[in-house]
Symmetry: C2
């Protein structure tokens, strides 16, 4: 390679992720990212197609981070739900990005894997996917609303999350309903 590289794609993604978390999406400007890695803005375009692509990479990295956290979460349904919410608290902007940007299917599948394993042991293979969707949808919605400040009718949110976990996990494992097919009226 010719002239010495003054930065790298990974460093750029990390810088963008840092700016995102500090100031929201509007703070991750090409110029700010460039400055953070010690380069001028146009140089970024040698590594990244455009800003949208950069945000996509940040989202993909965030998905990997979430996957890693879930993988090390011991495998119980409850632990997975706790780890999921913790990710949302640690990296709220990245969490939002995950459900705004479209991340590629493979990465999504990797993130789903630990949840699917857990629901398989909990409710059996037949309804593992539906159960996983029930759990992730609830957790996603809870954290989304929490981060958006949409829970404003009082009450402790930790308690509310615990209430939901108990309810859902119990409902799935006791599975009075899970045994029935999903079709119906």
């Amino acid at each position: 390679m010719p002239t010495p590289e003054r930065t790298s794609l990974d460093e750029i993604i990390d810088a963008a992720a840092g700016l995102l978390e500090k100031g929201g999406p509007s703070a991750v400007t090409m110029q700010a990212v460039a400055q953070a890695v010690g380069v001028k803005a146009p140089s970024l375009y040698k590594r990244v197609r455009d800003r949208e692509a950069l945000l996509g990479l940040v989202g993909a990295a965030a998905a990997d981070d979430l996957t890693a956290r879930l993988e090390t979460a011991s495998g119980g349904l409850d632990d997975l739900l706790v780890a999921f919410r913790a990710f949302g608290h640690d990296r709220p902007e990245a969490f939002r990005l995950l459900f705004t940007t479209v991340v590629d299917a493979d990465r999504l599948a990797a993130t789903s894997a630990p949840v699917l394993r857990a629901t398989t042991v909990a409710v059996g293979e037949a309804h593992a996917l539906e159960a996983a969707r029930l759990l992730t949808a609830w957790a996603t919605g809870f954290v989304t609303m929490e981060l958006a400040g949409a829970f404003r009718l009082g009450g402790d949110l930790d308690d509310a999350y615990r209430y939901g976990r108990r309810h859902l996990v119990a409902s799935l494992t006791q599975d009075q309903v899970a045994a029935r097919p999903a079709q119906g009226s």
Copy 2:
């Protein structure tokens, strides 16, 4: 009033909502909104503080729309959940905006009201709020993920939503767990 008004705040909000739905948040530019209502961009600032405020008004109007839909949804838990998702499908960008922008507490309370009424009859006053949060969090997460294209492991989404509705409604009304206090480990 002096010079004849060529537009109105409501018209501006409607135009912005239309542009939002057609091309996402980035499409609702002051200039595009102005052109849509037959005016030049700077004139908008006579009615709206800035772009962020305009988006806030669009979000508030969307919240009112959602509230109205829920109010006319007959009051059953299942009907409320169906109406909620229908809103997300009809106005996906407005739906996203609701959980991105911060809308004021009063309006949020109005939106919650029909859900709270329904959960009150379903599980009693003691756990109405927690039940409402469980339901809205799940529905919000489901629609959010659906709109983000995050459900890519196959299966029919209508079925998946039905599955979740059954599970949650049954779990709440049978309330094997709901009777227990939310505290605990």
